[in-house]
Point group: C2
Chain length 304, copies 2
């Protein structure tokens, strides 16, 4: 029977996902909705134990390597940002305070940038690191779509610069809480392409195009599936237009979950950008494996 060596954790604002590993092999997997947004500092250990408690052997501290918002100032333990340009991953990892001696929790630092614009990354640096371990020597741009989309320029193994877009969060706010909320449900591929073209062509018209969706619903009977897909296309198109300095003349690796990653990749391919798509969880896990190298040798495996 396989013996648990370490645990990887992806701990974001809205979710917690954990893997139990024997060497590089996943032998356990679990997830919950106990993201940072729901937790005070005192809640983290319990939220983690609720998922991994049964996996843990008795004895001293099985290492947990974690990335994401648990490392923010309001999280479990602050893992201070590292300044770019730098490799996506480096030690020391921050050590979270735990009561249960079966645990030893280490948190990956995020990245910060001061110019050309202030920006921060927390969690995605681990996906970028994972991508680099699977594609050594890769130069180019990584696009990580999501609540806050990130574009990362990689060169010679270092993050040179990055930029965050509020695209996913804005889509959610508009679709769930705005005047559009009653008229956007479902998905229509052709509608997405129309919205994308509008967003790319005239990103500065976003504020009025949003209302056009409402007016077309009232006057022209625009269907909710087309409206929702056009809304998504408008926002992603505006993001792509603004991120042009990232993708123009570059190859782009999109790291994300379907179907969103596919939407970005299709849009980039349509702009004649060489593009590949990579699963976010696979990259996270590869990055957490790479982060394990930054533990002290004595912590790198479970002492039994």
């Amino acid at each position: 029977m396989s013996v648990l060596d370490w645990i990887g954790a992806d701990w974001g604002t809205s979710h917690l996902r954990v893997w139990g590993l024997a060497g590089d092999r996943v032998i356990h997997e679990a997830a919950s909705d106990q993201g940072m947004g729901k937790l005070t500092r005192a809640d983290y250990e319990g939220a983690l134990l609720a998922l991994v408690g049964e996996w843990l052997p008795e004895g001293q501290g099985t290492p947990v390597i974690a990335c994401g918002m648990l490392g923010s100032r309001q999280g479990w333990v602050e893992a201070p940002y590292r300044a770019v340009p730098c490799g996506p991953l480096a030690g020391p990892l921050a050590v979270a305070p735990v009561r249960d001696q079966r645990l030893s929790v280490h948190v990956v630092p995020g990245l910060q940038q001061h110019s050309p614009a202030a920006d921060v990354i927390r969690g995605e640096e681990t996906q970028v690191a994972g991508f680099l371990t699977l594609s050594p020597g890769w130069d180019g741009v990584i696009c990580l779509p999501g609540t806050h989309s990130k574009w990362v320029h990689l060169s010679a193994g270092e993050v040179v610069s990055f930029q965050t877009f509020l695209t996913g969060e804005l889509f959610h706010l508009l679709a769930e809480h705005s005047v559009l909320r009653h008229s956007v449900t479902g998905w229509d591929e052709a509608g997405f392409r129309v919205g994308l073209a509008h967003g790319l062509e005239r990103p500065e018209w976003l504020l009025s195009r949003l209302f056009t969706l409402r007016a077309e619903g009232l006057l022209d009977g625009l269907g909710p599936a087309i409206a929702r897909a056009r809304l998504s296309g408008l926002l992603i198109g505006a993001e792509l237009a603004a991120a042009k300095s990232y993708w123009l003349g570059q190859r782009v690796a999109v790291i994300g979950a379907a179907p969103l990653a596919r939407h970005y990749a299709d849009a980039l391919a349509h702009l004649s950008v060489p593009v590949s798509v990579h699963d976010a969880s696979t990259m996270t896990l590869a990055g957490l494996r790479a982060a394990r190298a930054f533990l002290q040798p004595s912590e790198a495996s479970c002492v039994r």
Copy 2:
């Protein structure tokens, strides 16, 4: 003692405001939060009577002239949109069903546009009409900032075209419900001007500039008053950039409430646009007075 001749009502999504008039003179005034968003069709009459019931003389139908969302399909009675180009106001007004014989409720139609983009107005047409009665023969552009900002091109007494921007609603969603919500409170005039300049200069960068506010809060200690004012400036700047075809080479009348109307006017003046500011309630009331002319003569005054 003055005798009530008619009642004017401004009935939007989130508010109801009423004036009781003797001729052109306001003798009563009241308001409530019973906007369309809180009401089913059966609730309207009660919500109105709660404010004006005590003003009403016995006898037949005191005319109520109302504008705003109560005239939408989901409102009290649908007052179908009139298509531009057309004057901002014309009959027939829609007649709402009432049980209380002391009332006779008439609703101003909104405006619709099919090209260059689908768009609708409901409520602001009355303010535009009011403005025209106070400034006869005025040609130019009217800007009505708010939850949904409207830009209206007026020529020879007709609305030629108009365009709506989701600016105010987006500000509210971002300030109250987004990742920015904990870091934006208060107001800082210099911050507004910085945001405005950014929005005007690079409206297409909006999605990333929004996150920059968050990152500057984390990395540079950007204060919440500056952050909130910059957020407002960014959005208004992006709106002004996109509305350039409206204001360039035109004079602009801004109709709205302080301080928002003043922010728009200052920004336009800074762009060398001849601009004047007009109180929204005054324009609404003037428009409702003008709408009274479209009642049938027998309805135009209270029969006692």
